[in-house]
């Protein structure tokens, strides 16, 4: 698929229908899409859905601390009396915010470097790919740990740290696609017509490298959620009083035996969100990758 066949409206509709059919074709992918829809809705509508919106922040109600789940607090309350359901809903907002920031930074940096490396080839490619290899040698959580230490621990630091470890994947992916695209006929045709290398790269190589990147993005979102939650759990991500799932688990873990709800619900939320992204990403991959389409 090249960009040229996209602009027609009927074509777009067809692509949308195809995507809808793909999601409908596989029950598991459909479930993933449904879970994600719920998570996105929770994030967008947290102000309206949360029964006690002010509990998402630093509000305290000592008289209602650690109430069991019941009619007025479906998921109970935490040590300082905040409604856990409200915090879990707002936590969806925090998690999706992290995912979007990390993936945008990582994809933009990685794709630009990857396209440059793949299209330019030679020494440029070697240098970019070796630097990529160095960053790939650091497991994401480890480099995030080290970086979160250099910069003061905060939500923003966690985002930067995770993005720094995530871009190499996109660089490697796009580089290999771009280097296979550069030998295609239409690229040679554009070059013969005297189109500048930069323009060839941005107008022809880049758009044609994007489909696998989109699949990778949906596959990675789950991983980003887990890494961000792990950093917060270790105290290197979001700080009190932010509603963040990993942080909520950390704050509640010493109370697990007596007050199970403070740990259970935020953890389930992480599991559900990561599961939704992973399942949907897997479904998109097997649908969009013709080589694996037979599955």
């Amino acid at each position: 698929m090249s960009l040229a066949d996209l602009p027609l409206r009927s074509d777009r509709l067809r692509h949308f229908r195809r995507l809808r059919d793909l999601i409908g074709a596989d029950v598991l992918t459909g479930i993933g899409a449904a879970i994600l829809f719920l998570v996105v809705m929770a994030a967008l509508l947290a102000n309206w859905l949360a029964p006690y919106p002010s509990d998402a922040g630093s509000a305290t109600h000592p008289e209602q601390s650690l109430l069991k789940p019941g009619a007025s607090h479906w998921m109970g309350t935490d040590q300082v009396g905040r409604d856990v359901l409200s915090r879990v809903l707002y936590g969806a907002r925090t998690s999706l915010f992290i995912v979007v920031c990390v993936l945008v930074i990582a994809a933009v940096v990685g794709v630009l470097l990857g396209v440059t490396a793949g299209y330019a080839g030679g020494i440029v490619r070697d240098v970019i790919m070796r630097v990529t290899d160095i960053f790939l040698a650091f497991p994401a959580l480890l480099l995030s740990l080290a970086l979160a230490l250099v910069l003061q621990a905060s939500l923003r630091t966690a985002i930067i740290a995770i993005a720094v470890t995530w871009w190499p994947w996109y660089a490697r992916l796009t580089a290999s696609i771009a280097s296979s695209i550069r030998t295609r006929g239409y690229i040679e045709a554009a070059r013969c017509l005297g189109v500048s290398p930069l323009k060839v790269m941005l107008r022809h190589v880049l758009p044609n490298s994007l489909t696998p990147v989109l699949v990778q993005l949906s596959l990675d979102a789950g991983g980003v959620i887990l890494t961000a939650a792990s950093l917060s759990y270790l105290g290197l991500g979001a700080q009190e009083p932010t509603s963040e799932w990993g942080l909520m688990v950390e704050q509640g873990q010493s109370l697990f035996t007596t007050d199970w709800w403070v740990v259970t619900f935020p953890g389930l939320a992480i599991l559900l969100a990561a599961f939704g992204f992973n399942v949907l990403g897997e479904g998109l991959r097997s649908a969009l990758d013709p080589r694996r389409g037979a599955q």
Partner: protein
Amino acid sequence: MLRFLLRRIGQAVAVVAGVILLTFVIQRVIPGDPAVAAVGPKASLEQLAQARHDFGLDQSLPIQLWNYAVGLLHGDLGTSLHTHQAVRHDLGAAFPASLELVGAGIVLAALIGVPAGVLAARYRRRSADAAIRVNSMLAVSVPTFWFALVLQELFATKLGWFPVAGEYTSSLDQTSPLHIYTNMTLLDSLITGNWPIFTSLIDHLVLPVIVVAAYPAGVIAQLTRAALIEEITQDHTRMERSLGFSERSVLLRFSMRPALNPVLSVAALVFAYSIVNTFLVESVFNWPGLGSYAVDAIRSSDTPAIAGVTLLVASTYVVLNLLVDLVQSMVDPRVRLS
């Protein structure tokens, strides 16, 4: 083959050099002066200057980097500000304990993941396949620290089936002291026939190993399934079927070997990921490994220790990757050409 070997080793050395540079940069920008941390806040200016001189902090950055690299080549990772011991010594004690956990986890993951992947491929699009796919997806989506907390709460605190935390019951050090050879308690107790410690260790291992194994088991099951399904749509399987081989032989005798190659190629990645994932497991189960050491180091801003851990894990990853590449190029000659 020799050219491929040399080129790959050259690349690995370049990556390790880059890793060293990066850990040096991280150490230099971490807020807080290691000299101040070492001598304490009440030290005189002379003591501080002496400490700065001892750490080599009064020299220019390139010379510091050179000294750092030369020290590393001699196996000198600096002195921990927290334990006041050589970082190399600390890592030598902590790393084997983590390897024990990760090693057992990966073995368990392979024992579960490969058969699960084969079953899913054999009965694809049926209920067994669906169940395995859902479970493997759950296994890669569960937050490690939360899974560890839940298992600990259910099976140790509530049901009392397994010990809550630790590596083995510490009172056993008095009744049946352990001779240390490898720093891996599992091996040491096995070699020396120290059964009390060995059985206590196995008891303590069960829960953390299940948590460590969850992610790799899910990945291995998914990859095995995908690779096998791709393999059984190839022409050679049609040939084998037409010759009257059973579906079981087609799968296990002819498709398994080529299908395991892509599984092997991510083995290094999964292993490195598991080492870091183990950090979270160790902190929940209080396992005396690299993770507990790293978390302590982070809490006390122990720069040399953090750099040591980073360097160790990153180098492990590079070496593992190199090994996997070499094994693959022996199994599948096409790899050498790419």
